[in-house]
C-alpha cells in the first residue's frame, strides 16, 4: 500500500485513474447492454415524443392548447391516437388554414418523419387508434364485391356510389375518394375525422375495411376503366342531363341551323 500511496502524486496518476474508470464503465456497459436494448428503443420513442412536442408547440398548440387539451378554436387531442394525426396531417388537412365549416385537404407541409413524431406526441397524451401498418390496409387480395355492398350500406350516403363525394349541411361536404391513399381511407374509417362517423374494429373489422378499400380502388382508382366512355364526373343524372342539353341537343340544333341554311333556293339567286 505504501507503494501506491507513495505514487499518489505521480504525474501520471490521474491518467491511470481515468483509464481505470473508463474500463470499469465500458465493462459494466458491455455486461448490461443486451438487457437494456428495449430501454434504448424507448429512448428513441421518447425522443420522437420530445421532437413531436416541439413541432406541436409551433404548429398545433395555438388551437389545440399547449398540452393538447383543446381550446375554443380546436378540439382536445387526448385519446385521438396516432392514426388521427397521421390522417389529418398526412392529407394536409392539419394544420388548418382558417376556421370554417370544414377543413379541406391541401398540400402536405410536414415530412412523414415529422408526422410520425407529431403522432407519437399526440398518442402519448392518451390511448387511441394506432397508425395502421401496410399489412392492415393493403387491399391486395380483398373482396371488392363484398366491399361494394359494405360501401353502399355505410359510405355511399355521403360519398356517392363510387366515392365521388357529396354535399353535407351548411357548407360541409364528404370529400371525393379518388386518389386517396389506402392508408388514409383506413385511418378515416378508424378515427372518423371531422364530420365523418368512426368505424372502429368492433363495428367494422379490419377485413371489411380492406374490402371497402379494394372496392374504392376498383371503381374509382387509377386503373379503373369506364366502359361507357366519358365518366362525366360520375355524378349521375344531373351531369348527364347537362351534357344531353349542351352537347346533345345543342349539337342537334346547330345541325338544324346548318341544314336550314343550305336549302334549294326557290327563286332568289
Amino acid at each position: 500500500m505504501k507503494k501506491l500511496s507513495a505514487r499518489r502524486r505521480h504525474p501520471l496518476a490521474a491518467v491511470v485513474v481515468l483509464l481505470l474508470a473508463l474500463a470499469a464503465t465500458g465493462g459494466l456497459y458491455a455486461a448490461f447492454a443486451p438487457a437494456k436494448q428495449a430501454q434504448a428503443d424507448e429512448t428513441s420513442q421518447s425522443l420522437a415524443i420530445e421532437e413531436g412536442k416541439k413541432l406541436y408547440t409551433v404548429g398545433c398548440a395555438s388551437c389545440h392548447g399547449t398540452g393538447g387539451q383543446g381550446s375554443s378554436d380546436g378540439p382536445s387531442l387526448v385519446g385521438v391516437g396516432s392514426a388521427a394525426v397521421d390522417f389529418q396531417v398526412g392529407t394536409g388537412r392539419m394544420p388548418a388554414q382558417q376556421p370554417g365549416a370544414q377543413v379541406p385537404k391541401k398540400k402536405v407541409i410536414y415530412s412523414q418523419k415529422e408526422i410520425d413524431q407529431l403522432a407519437a406526441y399526440v398518442a402519448s397524451l392518451g390511448a387511441g387508434p394506432i397508425t395502421p401498418t401496410k399489412q392492415q390496409y393493403d387491399p391486395a387480395g380483398a373482396d371488392a364485391a363484398k366491399g361494394g355492398e359494405l360501401f353502399r350500406t355505410n359510405c355511399a350516403q355521403c360519398h356517392n356510389f363510387t366515392g365521388e363525394g357529396g354535399a353535407l349541411t351548411h357548407g360541409k361536404s364528404a370529400p371525393s375518394l379518388e386518389g386517396v391513399d389506402p392508408k388514409h381511407i383506413y385511418e378515416a374509417m378508424q378515427t372518423g375525422p371531422q364530420n365523418m362517423p368512426s368505424f372502429p374494429d368492433t363495428t367494422m373489422p379490419e377485413q371489411q375495411k380492406k374490402d371497402i378499400i379494394a372496392y374504392v380502388k376498383a371503381v374509382n382508382g387509377d386503373e379503373t376503366e369506364s366502359p361507357g366512355g366519358l365518366k362525366l364526373g360520375g355524378l349521375g343524372p344531373v351531369s348527364e342531363g347537362l351534357f344531353a342539353w349542351i352537347f346533345g341537343l345543342g349539337a342537334l340544333i346547330a345541325v338544324a341551323v346548318w341544314v336550314a341554311a343550305h336549302t334549294a333556293k326557290a327563286k332568289k339567286s
Binding site: H170, S226, L230, G234, L242, A260
Partner: protein
C-alpha cells in the same frame, strides 16, 4: 335491229317502276293521295326542325328499345351474379339488374345500344320542351292549332313518365331510390295512399312485381299511346299546314317554302340520319347511367347524389326545398312535406299547357293565325313564357342543390333557401324584366323603321355638327318589322244601357278587361309606326 326490238319492248311493257306504281295504285288508290300531297309546301326555318328532332329521337328510341327487349329480363327473381364485371361477382341481385349488366358487358353492341337509348331519351324530352317553347314564343299555338298544342303537351308528359318507368327497369340502387321516392309520394296521399301503394307494388315495397309492371307500361302502354299521339300530331300539322314567319309574299292565307317531294323529303330524311348519327356519337363517347357502378337496389341502401333524369328534376326540386311539415290528426299523419310537392307537380306542367286558352279568352280573338309572332311583339306572352322557364329552372336548381353546393362551394342550406324564395319571386322578376326588354326591342324596331339603320358613317355638316348617317331599310325589312298586328284592349262597354239602367257586369268580364289592358293597354305595347308617320319622316326633310 336492236333499236327496233327495244322500242317494241317499251311499247309492250311499261318500265318496272311504273308497273309497280300501277300495281300499288290499283289496290291502294295512292295516286290521288300522292298527287294532292307531293307538292305540299313546308316553310324553311331552323326552328321548324325542332319537332323533327323529337320525331327522330322517338324513332331511334323505338328501334334501340326493341333491341334491348330481346335481352332484358323483366323479373325480380334473385340471382347471384357471375358475369364479366368483377366488382359485382357473387353479389345477389334481381334478374332485371343482372340482365342489364349482361346487356352492358356480354351482349354484342349492348352497351352502345343501351347508351343510345338513354341519351336519345334525354334528348327526346329536351327537344320536346324546346319545340314547345318555339311554338309558345311564336304564338303558333293559336287557332286552329290549340288541339295540337294539347297533343304535344300530352306527349311531353307521357315522355317524362315513359322515361321514368324506363330508367327504373334495371333495378339499380339509383333508380330504386327513385321508385322509393315515388312510392313515398303515393303514400302521402290522404286515405287512398296506402291502398294505392299496395296495389301498385303488389304488396309492401318493393315487392316482386314492379319491374314487370313498369316493363309493360314502358314498352307497351305508354309508347303505344305516344305513337298514336305522334301520328295525330303529324296529321294535324299536315292538315293545318305549317305556320311561317311574316315576310314579303308570306301571308296568313299562303305557305311559302319547299315542296314535300323532293326537297323537303330529302332534307328531312337526311336530317334523320344526322340526328341518329349525332346521338350515336354522343352515346359512343359519353357514359350514361353506368348501372354497374351503382349496384343493385336494396331498400336498406342509399347514395348521395340520387337524382332523377333531368326531366323529372323539377319534381326532385319541389320535394327538396319543401319544408318537412306534417299534420297529425286523430291518429292519421298528413305528410305535407311530400303531399304539397305532389300537388304542385302537375300544376307546374298544367300552367304552361293551359296558357293558349287563357290568351285566346283574354284577346277574344276567334280568327285563324298562320303567321308567327316575333316574341318581342307579344311582350306579355313572352314574359309569361320566360317566367315559367325561370320557375322551372329554379326548381331544377333545387333538385340539384347538393351538386350546386359542392361545385360552387356554397352551403346547401343557403341554396335551398334561395330556391324557396326564388320559387315565388323569380318568375315575377323574370316577367318584369322580359316585358321591359320586349318593349325596348319594339321601340328599337319602330325607330329603325322610321329612321333607318345606323350606318356607322359620321358626317360633318357645314356648320360643324356631326351626325350619323342612317341608311333606310329595304322594303322586305320594313315589312318584317311592321307586319304584326296590334290589339286594342278589350273594353267592358258602358255600364248603363240606353235606358240608364245599370247593366250587370259579370266578374269574369271585369277580369278579362283588366287582363286585356295588361296585355295591350297603354305602355304594354309600343304602337308600331303608321304609314303616315313613315311618309312624313321620309318625305325629303332628311333625318336624324
Amino acid at each position: 335491229m336492236s333499236t327496233t326490238t327495244a322500242t317494241e319492248k317499251t311499247k309492250r311493257q311499261a318500265p318496272a317502276g311504273e308497273r309497280v306504281a300501277d300495281w300499288a295504285d290499283g289496290r291502294l288508290g295512292i295516286y290521288s293521295l300522292a298527287k294532292a300531297n307531293m307538292r305540299k309546301i313546308f316553310p324553311d326555318h331552323w326552328s321548324f326542325m325542332l319537332g323533327e328532332i323529337c320525331l327522330y329521337s322517338f324513332i331511334i328510341l323505338i328501334l334501340t328499345g326493341v333491341y334491348l327487349t330481346l335481352f332484358f329480363h323483366p323479373s325480380m327473381n334473385e340471382v347471384e351474379y357471375h358475369g364479366s364485371y368483377v366488382p359485382l361477382q357473387g353479389v345477389l341481385m334481381s334478374e332485371a339488374y343482372a340482365s342489364t349488366l349482361d346487356i352492358s358487358f356480354d351482349v354484342r353492341g349492348g352497351l352502345l345500344i343501351r347508351q343510345i337509348h338513354h341519351w336519345a331519351a334525354l334528348i327526346f324530352v329536351a327537344a320536346m320542351l324546346v319545340h314547345m317553347m318555339r311554338v309558345f314564343f311564336t304564338g303558333a299555338f293559336r287557332k286552329p292549332r290549340e288541339v295540337n298544342w294539347v297533343f304535344g303537351f300530352l306527349l311531353l308528359v307521357l315522355g317524362m313518365f315513359t322515361g321514368f318507368t324506363g330508367y327504373s327497369l334495371p333495378d339499380d340502387l339509383l333508380s330504386g331510390t327513385g321508385v322509393r321516392f315515388m312510392q313515398g309520394a303515393v303514400l302521402s296521399m290522404p286515405v287512398v295512399g296506402t291502398y294505392l301503394s299496395m296495389f301498385l307494388f303488389g304488396g309492401e315495397f318493393p315487392g316482386g312485381d314492379f319491374v314487370a309492371r313498369f316493363y309493360s307500361i314502358h314498352i307497351l302502354l305508354l309508347p303505344g299511346i305516344m305513337l298514336g299521339l305522334v301520328v295525330a300530331h303529324l296529321i294535324l300539322v299536315f292538315y293545318h299546314k305549317h305556320t311561317q314567319f311574316a315576310g314579303p309574299g308570306k301571308t296568313n292565307t299562303n305557305v311559302v317554302g319547299m315542296p314535300l317531294l323532293p326537297v323537303y323529303m330529302a332534307k328531312a330524311g337526311g336530317f334523320f340520319f344526322l340526328v341518329f348519327g349525332l346521338i350515336t356519337i354522343v352515346a359512343a363517347i359519353a357514359s350514361i347511367n353506368p348501372i354497374w357502378a351503382l349496384g343493385p337496389y336494396r331498400p336498406d341502401q342509399v347514395s348521395t347524389g340520387a337524382q332523377p333524369d333531368w326531366y323529372m328534376g323539377f319534381s326532385e326540386g319541389l320535394i327538396r326545398v319543401m319544408p318537412g311539415w306534417e299534420i297529425n290528426f286523430a291518429g292519421h299523419t298528413l305528410v305535407l312535406g311530400v303531399f304539397v310537392p305532389l300537388m304542385i307537380f302537375p300544376l307546374v306542367l298544367v300552367a304552361i299547357a293551359v296558357y293558349p286558352f287563357i290568351e285566346s279568352w283574354v284577346t277574344g280573338d276567334k280568327r285563324e293565325h298562320h303567321l308567327l309572332d316575333r316574341p318581342r311583339n307579344a311582350p306579355t306572352r313572352t314574359a309569361f313564357g320566360v317566367a315559367w322557364l325561370t320557375w322551372y329552372f329554379v326548381l331544377l336548381v333545387g333538385g340539384g342543390n347538393d351538386l350546386w353546393a359542392t361545385h360552387f362551394h356554397l352551403s346547401i342550406n343557403a341554396i335551398t333557401w334561395f330556391v324557396r324564395i326564388a320559387f315565388f319571386v323569380g318568375p315575377v322578376i323574370a316577367f318584369i324584366i322580359t316585358k321591359r326588354i320586349c318593349l325596348g326591342l319594339q321601340r328599337r324596331d319602330a325607330e329603325k323603321v322610321l329612321h333607318g339603320r345606323e350606318s356607322g358613317v359620321i358626317k360633318r355638316l357645314p356648320h360643324g355638327e356631326f351626325v350619323e348617317v342612317h341608311a333606310p331599310l329595304d322594303q322586305a325589312d320594313l315589312h318584317k318589322l311592321t307586319a304584326h298586328e296590334q290589339y286594342a284592349p278589350a273594353e267592358i262597354g258602358p255600364e248603363v244601357d240606353e235606358n240608364g239602367v245599370r247593366r250587370k257586369v259579370k266578374r269574369s268580364e271585369k277580369l278579362r278587361a283588366k287582363l286585356s289592358k295588361g296585355y295591350y293597354g297603354e305602355g304594354n305595347q309600343i304602337p308600331k309606326p303608321t304609314a303616315e308617320e313613315y311618309k312624313e319622316i321620309t318625305s325629303g326633310h332628311g333625318h336624324h
